[in-house]
Symmetry: C2
Subunit: 190 residues, 2 copies
Amino acid sequence: MAPDRRKMIVEAATKSFSLFGYKATTMDQVAKLANVGKGTIYTFFKNKEELFEEIISSIVKEMIVEADAAIQPNLPFTENVHRALYRLLEFRSQHQLMIKLVQEEAEMGTLAVSEMLQHVENEIVVYLKQKIELAITKGAIPPANTEITSYLLLKMYIALVSDWERNHAPLSSEQIADIMKVFLLQGLPR
Amino acid sequence: MAPDRRKMIVEAATKSFSLFGYKATTMDQVAKLANVGKGTIYTFFKNKEELFEEIISSIVKEMIVEADAAIQPNLPFTENVHRALYRLLEFRSQHQLMIKLVQEEAEMGTLAVSEMLQHVENEIVVYLKQKIELAITKGAIPPANTEITSYLLLKMYIALVSDWERNHAPLSSEQIADIMKVFLLQGLPR
DNA sequence: TTTTGACTAATTTAGTTTTTCGGTCAATTA
DNA sequence: TAATTGACCGAAAAACTAAATTAGTCAAAA
């Protein structure tokens, strides 16, 4: 049984990135963890950053699967927006690697990490945008600038799920659903 | 005519903070600019940070005046929310000192600057909260958690006015008003 | 053909010295 | 006498240097 070296490398790198962050993970470290010569890594990946990209890409795919699983076609569109977005941010706040990367960005501002987190955010916006466009063609919601709307929706959830916690006690899923219902369903005024 | 030393110090410090940022402004610099001995500064202010606080405080007061001026009692509440918030963020994005401080926070993460910007944000939330509470007692909008609502409103505007510009062309006041109208007035679904 | 790890150039870190700066206070001024 | 000043101090930051680390390469080994 020939071991799948590529897979071992990806697994070792994921573990190390999760434990020590991107910067503090050395390629020697990954090679050793993967039981592989360092040169072997470079037969599969052009460089450290490309290895990182591959790992982030598959995490994004995981996130999309999670979000899709949260959606229930019989529920109203706005309810599903909430369920999907909440699941996405929950994933981000529970996934070891994501936690570590957010921490590394805050503490050391590693460029490659900032870019990657930005990339993840973009992917989420694209995902949302598709859902919104689908809802518009189905007539569930009126036409709007889907790019800005998706962007704003994500920012609203990040504000409630992550930013709020910097200075206040965390909000429960229900609290977030309640406040978002105001904006998603009827707007402020009575 | 005895010169008002306190005022000269505050003006010199404001100018220097605006030009070079907080960290790069030295007390010797401020003293020289203010035509004052360094010791004199310390007869009016306990330390550099307190001098900074005084300047930020008066800027916050200016901002509140600006926001209030944007409000027109005959317009609907949500329209005024937009006008006040837009004016506040416009102020922030046009005021030399604010621009410099935001830049300094991003580039060097100066602690005192982060704290001060956080403080400004809090002041805005408090201001908004008061307006919302007033609107609730007047029956213009239904009761809600005013703290979270104000916070979320501010974050939405920051997202549209500042964050969006990091990766896209700036949005016009009208575009922002349009997208906010969706969330403030009717909600997503038709 | 695939894998490897010693090797290299470039970057980062650690250690040291020098400079700068916030804040004080004895001397000076008004 | 009260207000003002700037030389002075310790602490903190910057500049500099030497040493160590590390991403990526490639000739040799498997």
